[in-house]
């Protein structure tokens, strides 16, 4: 239990660090030196020190949004086995609970954006409401496959100990598709290129960044932190799937896990450097690919299990 809580704290503390690596990768591709790896910590501290300016159009929902999105992401990590160690909490069905909790976070992020009466934020909100619908279908498709393989509905049963290796053993190559599907979900849910470009200069073309335009100070810090945690949540799932090994020693496991997470963040950074953002009407197709892959993996795994 103590170890699980320590690992959870590890996740909370290192999530901004990993997110900083993406900047480094992009700087490397751009031939720049780039910001320091610890940039996100500096940003967070700066934001927490500041006060806030609120739009006269906003209500309490605007202040509630950042807390709910951070709270949901932090709660989600409580249920996720980090570095293969048993999670802090777990019950049969926690996967559904967590997915819906992240849905709650989305609801409040959108509501907070609509609160400002800004046309730009409304635009981002509409996109934020649209794309994750397909993501959710894809997540549940993957869940169906995992349930079929393990007979359980909890993160602990999928990603703790040598479980991910067991998934590879029973299903084999389809898990590769699941990994890709997950990666696409990661890019969509966390508003990365090619779905969304957090670095564009035009608010009109953003999704997540434009929704949080009006937030400032500690509230914005909460949003940033929530985004880091959410990214870490998806990245650690992918990391456990690509490096599914159990080394027997907690320290080694943690090192391996960190390596896996690092690989995922590097991959995101490389994607951002070599790809351009899709046109908005192309995005659903991209996300639908993830659903197709998950469906496909389920269909062929069933064929094997027959």
């Amino acid at each position: 239990m103590i170890e699980s809580i320590l690992l959870w704290a590890f996740a909370l503390l290192t999530a901004p660090l990993f997110a900083g690596i993406i900047f480094k990768v992009k700087a490397f591709f751009g031939g720049r030196k780039g910001s320091p790896v610890l940039i996100n910590y500096y940003t967070l501290i700066k934001l927490f020190k500041k006060g806030s300016v609120y739009s006269t159009s906003t209500t309490f929902i605007f202040k509630l949004g950042p807390m709910v999105s951070l709270g949901a992401a932090a709660t989600a990590l409580l249920f996720l086995p980090i570095a293969g160690h048993a999670p802090v909490f777990s019950f049969n069905g926690d996967v559904i609970f967590i997915l819906y909790l992240l849905g709650l976070a989305r609801f409040f992020t959108i509501a907070a954006a609509m609160d400002t009466a800004s046309p730009f934020e409304g635009m981002g909100a509409a996109r934020e409401a649209y794309f994750p619908i397909i993501c959710e279908a894809s997540m549940f498709m993957i869940l169906i496959l995992f349930y079929r393989l393990t007979g359980d509905l909890s993160f602990a049963a999928y990603f703790s100990g040598s479980q991910p290796f067991g998934l590879w053993q029973t299903a084999g190559s389809p898990i590769l598709f699941v990994v890709i599907a997950f990666f696409i979900i990661l890019l969509t849910e966390n508003a990365r290129v090619p779905v969304d470009d957090p670095a564009t200069h035009l608010e009109l073309t953003m999704i997540h960044e434009v929704m949080v335009l009006d937030h400032s100070g500690p509230d914005f810090g909460f949003i940033e932190m929530g985004a880091f945690l959410k990214m870490f949540f998806y990245a650690s799932i992918v990391a456990r799937l690509i490096l599914p090994f159990e080394l027997g020693n907690p320290a080694l496991n943690l090192a391996l896990f960190s390596l896996g997470v690092l690989i995922v963040y590097l991959a995101v950074g490389v994607m951002e450097s070599i790809l351009a953002r899709y046109r908005m009407d192309r995005v659903p197709k991209f996300v639908l690919t993830s659903f197709a892959l998950a469906f496909f993996a389920t269909a062929i795994t069933l064929e094997f299990l027959r």
Binding site: G71, F107, I133, T298
Partner: protein, 653 residues
Amino acid sequence: MNLFFLSILIISAGGILTLLTFRFFPLMKILGVLGIGAGCCIGMLDALSKLSHDGSASASFDYLDTLSLAFQIDGLSAFFLLAIFAVCLLATIYSFDYMSNTGKALGTATNYFFFSLLTASMALVVVAGNMITFMLSWEIMSLSSFFLVVYDHQVLENRKAGYLYFIFSHVGAMFILAAFGVLYSHTGSFGFDAAGMSHAAKMLVFILAFIGFGSKAGVFPFHVWLPHAHPAAPSHISAVMSGVMIKTGIYGILRLYSILNLHTPVLGTMVLVFGVVSGVLGVVYALGQHDLKRLLAYHSVENIGIILIGIGIGMIGVEAKNPIMAVLGFSGGLLHVLNHSIFKSLLFMGAGVVLKKTGTRSIDALGGLLKNMKVTGVTFLVGSLAIAGLPPFNGFVSEFFIYVGSFRGIAVGSPVFAVSLLAIVSLAVIGGLALACFTKVVGVVFQGEPRSRAAHDVNEKGPAMLLPMVILAGACAVIGVYPGGFMFLVLKAVAALGLDYGRIPMEPFARISANITWGATLFLAVLLALLALRRILYQGKTIGRAGTWGCGFTQPTTRMQYTGSSYAASILEFFKPAAPLEEDHPPVLGLFPRQTHYRSHIHDIVELHLNRLVVNPVLWLFDKLRWIQHGDIHLYIGYILLAIVVLLFFVKP
């Protein structure tokens, strides 16, 4: 049973008293609210005690010496009674401040009268012990609700909605009557009993009844009346109709399922597929609406879909000999019946306050209401979270049970696997779409800035309207965090279905409920911790107020806000084949363009095709038969004579 009849008596008495005292407006309202409210309270307590003590009761009276009126309360009836009385109680309290048009005293009195009749007849429908009683109560229910729909009969649109509802409810009743007819012809008794019927006959009865009950429940494609009738009725009536009246259709399906004891895999699959189609298309059409109450009405179609998915999973579980899947499916569906009655009546009441205070139902004309309507806004937000199935509110709990039940089906063989997969994926899609739809409603109606004059300077005076909404919002949260006790009640109702599982073990369900409680508490604890952290971080900081950042644009107006139509447009584009969009938008031309406008309308494909395939042929046929209607009374007597003669000759005794 006596308590039940007492409650029905008090409710009816309350209704009749309003008719007698309509000249004294406040007195009439007090009498009506007190009568109906007291009756509902008694009925609710009675149902609750029956449900928790496994009590069942029955009574029968002879009517005209030949027909017997039989009443029977078991777990299933008691469960529905609970929902009916609870929602009607709150709706009548709400009506005290909502029905404030003193110039329309007689109309208000008739409204109360028919409302009491509707409440009593709904209660009678679910306790009916034989076909005669059932059909009688069913017809009273349909007729009284028809009169409630046409309350504002001066408006042409409302009259049309009323006629549409009238036709649908009677065609539906005809199907139910046909089903009962088949049942009677095989068993020879009016009792609810199907012993010794052939499989094919049972199937026929079920399908006929499913169409009939489905048209009352608003199952796609029999839902056409619903989005017209619900907006037309006064809001507390919409709350009752959408919250509980359409559930009598679900009750009918479940009751018939338990009577027929029909064992075929087709049944569950059929119910589930209807559920999936209703669920997905219901929410897609809802997303495209511009009228707040119409949008909520389409959400009823969606939620009936979710309930049917649960029931379908239950039926499939029974066939697959998987008791846990079966009970999870049925209990999820039934809990959703209760949950939907809570959050949907809450939402309709909220929409009612908005309509009353702003005078418009058009979503795109509203905005920023949360600032002046705090209670309405917050309770509406709670209802939205609940209907979108998000934790920690009640909608999530029932969907969770259906999910877990469907996942059980994944472990079973291939045909069950396929339908369970369909159920899970469509539930996920419905959840996502409902979230999109309610962020639209909350975001456009309650947040931002007022988009028209109607939304300026509003207030929410009227404590009798606010109290029921607060109670309902509280119920959403309580069931969402502590579902255990409610699960207990639901399982009693499932036990009454007669699934031959003996006593259903409470333990696994109690554990699931405890897990939900646990997860919700955990999340709330994290949220509280963050709240504390936020307070510390803002200690002694300067808080500024300024206009919204317009991305460099300095002259924003409220007309520039994103509207509900544009919010939903891209999602609707994805579902274009099922939801054709009609747009009217003269293009902007030239250097000095003239004023233009934009109007869009989402077509319901059933409505489109119903006109083409059913209404027009029927009109054509009746046009051809017009010569029968001569206007000559002697000829009509001749027709009657002819009919009697034909009947005497051809019908065997």
